[in-house]
Amino acid sequence: MFKDLDPILHSQLRLAVMSLLIGVKEAEFTVIREKTNATAGNLSVQVQKLKDAGYIDVTKQFKDNYPLTTCKITKKGIEAFEDYVKSLQQYLQVKK
């Protein structure tokens, strides 16, 4: 069990969302759901947690009369993700 890892990121779905967003400028909610194979309800809850932590920005608008939610990683989110990966690397090195 990791003790020093960021609890916000150390969750399967939240980590997947952040890993997806770290490599792109922004992504629509439907694509994140498709890529993570998550249910819309569960993903909404986890996206809200990441938003509350200030790790992602969520923009809601309408496109062709349909609601469109777009997620984008923030600077704080990038730093948190990089720290998480560093901690992970350190942990793996200790284990070797």
Binding site: M1, F2, H10, S11, Q12, L13, L15, A16, S19, L20, I22, G23, V24, K25, E26, A27, E28, T30, V31, K35, T36, N37, A38, N42, K63, V85, L88, Y91, L92, K95
Partner: protein, 224 residues
């Protein structure tokens, strides 16, 4: 995706998988490349054939490149609306192609205006360019013009294509740009009629072939 306690290996696997999924999502339709590949190849070939068979074209065939901007804007808006993931390099590559288009128009402007300007400046100084027929010895006025300007167009075609090819690691565009640079070098030794054929080759290598490959890949990916 269910919630459970993660091991370090699982965390690493999730990160790797998701980064790869985002990376592999990049799907260029190839429609823009196809459009410009067809237009440049067509204009180059028609100009070359007109030179070869001494056709009198009633209008400048290269006007088609201006008309092609209209469908290009429509394609850009349509594809941008359809894009569900915006990649980090898409803005930078878009900027490269916009700057390329601006430079193409700047070069066209330069080509059309510089002769008159030079002639005007020469006249103000009481000078003019002359050309002498070596065989007859006849001397006549020569209106200033930009020498081998079509070579510069060919050189410009290669620039954004090579950048896109290198950034996207898309070999057909890298090879296309290399072929275009070869066309540029050859065009420095040929007259403007054969430069038109080199334009057609450059248009095919830079955009038509990569466009066909991209379009096929896109169709296969979206059919799955």
């Amino acid at each position: 995706m269910e919630e459970k306690n993660l091991t370090e290996q699982e965390s690493l696997q999730i990160i790797t998988d998701m980064i790869n999924k985002a990376k592999n999502d990049y799907r260029e339709t190839g429609v823009s490349a196809l459009l410009w590949g067809i237009v440049i190849t067509f204009c180059g070939l028609v100009s070359f054939l007109a030179y070869l068979f001494k056709w009198e074209l009633s209008f400048d065939i290269w006007i088609l490149t201006l008309l092609a901007i209209i469908p290009q804007i429509w394609i850009f808006i349509k594809e941008d609306k359809k894009r569900k993931i915006k990649h980090l390099d898409s803005d930078a590559l878009g900027a490269v192609w916009i700057v390329f288009a601006v430079n193409m128009f700047a070069l066209t402007f330069y080509q059309n205006i510089i002769g008159y300007t030079t002639e005007h400046i020469l006249k103000n100084n009481g000078l003019e360019w002359l050309e002498k027929n070596i065989a007859t010895g006849a001397v006549s006025t020569l209106h200033p013009f930009v020498v081998s300007v079509s070579s510069l167009y060919i050189m410009l075609y290669a620039m954004p294509t090579l950048i896109t090819g290198l950034v996207k690691k898309f070999k057909p565009m890298i090879i296309g740009a290399m072929i275009t640079y070869v066309c540029f070098v050859i065009s420095c030794f040929t007259d403007s009629g054969y430069d038109m054929l080199l334009h057609a080759i450059a248009g095919t290598a830079c955009w038509l072939i990569p466009g066909i490959i991209l379009y096929k890949k896109y169709k296969n990916a979206t059919a799955c």
